[in-house]
Symmetry: none
Subunit: 196 residues, 4 copies
DNA sequence: CATGAATGAGAGTTCATTCAT
DNA sequence: GATGAATGAACTCTCATTCAT
């Protein structure tokens, strides 16, 4: 596969992403993607063999980009509290971004593929690693005196479950910026020393 | 509609429920339901006109039954803490019940129908009313000295979001009984006076 | 399936037969049959699920009819020689009937399905039973003095292989009525007493 | 066309032969051959324009080689009976060689191309020339006293039709070595003087 | 000569929906 | 009310054939 093919592959993934954003995962057909990309019916099959495969590649791409973005925005002299706030603000942005998010599609995909062996369930891996990171941040914050927390691990999990709850609510019952702010503030205040 | 028709209608809904439990919402076809009910293709259309309509009726049925069940299990002399614990235990049962739950289907349905006018978004109504109930329980608990909480409303929302987070995680990345116990205990301990 | 459906089923088989006669087996598609029957794409699938299934039913029908026809034309007072001649004449008719024969399709079908368990290979069963019948006729003829033959079984097999050879040649290199007559006469003369 | 091209042409034909052996004629696609040869899609079209053309060239190659082989194995001092036996033994080998034979493909090809003008129907030419050769052998055998036969031409045709019959049966209902032996012996014994 | 990406026609199959009975 | 045959649109996937490089 030449340079050109790699470009086209990427183009297909980016276009398919838009389709998944719009229609979720289950309802997307190869035909939808073919039409969105404006390529021929058979053409798509040269690159991918199913919507499932395409979707997994889209998720890979997405994760890669998100990680890069987040890592990129951490400054040298950030404190634990800074970084946690940054993280929460990122989550908020993501939560409110209704028109351009894969969330629904991802959930639908894992509804069907939950039984994947643990190693292949990227969602689980991401969740667990996020918990770990938050835990470390809390510990660092406690040490530096920024935070007060008796059970950093439990608190980290609590934060992540609330975020998951907000995420699914954003896709089902809808959330307003105010709601998100309120919940995130609630989480944050629970950690702060001056909470008392 | 005669007595007989009402029976048949109910039969269809109960059978359709099983189909939705098994396949979620999006992938269920009228054919699936026809076959599960072992009735004629045209026959189904006499009662319902789409999977969407059927699903909404199934949810109605479900909600009714769940409410009855919960109300029924509250005893006269229960304290706020008792009731909250009862509620949390119910949620846990629901969370771990993988084989017989509409959760996936409900999420999928609202992925498609989120934009419903507020009044028709039953999920939202249920969420809000649950928050209200928990808030009242917490207030009652604070008054009776069972709980300690400075922000009952915020705390109630926090509890509900965690539960939603657990629910979606149960359907995507999987949860173990231990995990659920730990999270629920975490929520409960935060409220208790002897937490300090 | 009602009376009407049975009629339609039969209609489809008879129409499909024409298609198989014209195009053999391998090249026939469900679409070909749909178009020949002038029914809808989905309609055909109500009755049959593949060309293979349809073809097997066509063969069944065909065999039934051929057997009836042959049995019907045997008279009470026929001698062994009469019946054998009748049989050979039937074969000749079949051989020369180029425009209306399933032969090619049958061969193609068994090219693909030769490995069927013996019991399901109808072709083999038909061949073996034909050999048996001819053998009996020869024995009867020998007894009545019409025929002379030292090895009725071998002779019966020889006759059947020659007929198979003629059949395949009729479909590949072509045969003329003269050729067929000559070969059949050769077979018959070998049996007759006045052959010497 | 250079030396190199001729090599490649031959390579394609030899590889295509394997494909035809495996799948018959009708089901083979240009893609099958491209993949078997591991050349480019467009590349194949530089040498051949259809599976039909390729198959005809494969048959040419095959015939050439078979003739060479047979001629090569006739010894100077062979008698007519020797040669006939040799020929029959060759046929037997061919009949039992299930895994490496073009028979099915050839039949399928001629099912479609029977109407070719006589001169192009190689199968017919081969059949007729084989009959002639056998006839000559029988005549020679009669003259030398090895055989007894009143109708050498008829007998030669009979032999060839039996062989064709065996060939098609080998591909459809299956034949065992015993069966082949028995039939060939039957043919041979009919010719021998000591048959009486 | 050779490549392989691209096209588009066409086959198989499934279903929502209608309608005569 | 109830049936189930029938239709036709839609989707998946495969290939012969072409063509720019």
């Amino acid at each position: 596969m030449g340079e050109k093919s790699i470009q086209k592959r990427k183009f297909i993934l980016q276009t398919a992403r838009k389709v998944f954003v719009e229609k979720g995962f289950k309802k997307v057909t190869m035909k939808d993607i073919v039409e969105a990309c404006d390529i021929s019916r058979g053409g798509l099959y040269l690159y991918f063999e199913s919507t499932s495969q395409i979707f997994q590649e889209v998720m890979k791409m997405e994760t890669q980009e998100a990680d890069d973005l987040f890592s990129g925005s951490i400054k040298e002299d950030s404190t634990a509290a800074d970084i946690l706030l940054l993280f929460l603000r990122e989550q908020k942005k993501e939560l409110l971004r209704k028109q351009d998010t894969l969330t629904q599609a991802i959930y639908e995909f894992y509804f069907e593929n939950q039984q994947l062996p643990k190693k292949e369930n990227r969602l689980k891996k991401q969740f667990d690693s996020a918990v770990k990171i938050i835990e470390r941040l809390i510990e660092a914050g406690v040490e530096s005196g920024e935070f007060y927390c008796e059970d950093p691990a439990g608190c980290a999990r609590n934060i992540m479950f609330v975020l998951e709850g907000l995420k699914i609510c954003a896709q089902t019952i809808g959330v307003t910026p105010d709601m998100v702010d309120r919940e995130i503030l609630y989480l944050y205040k629970n950690l702060c020393v001056d909470d008392e």
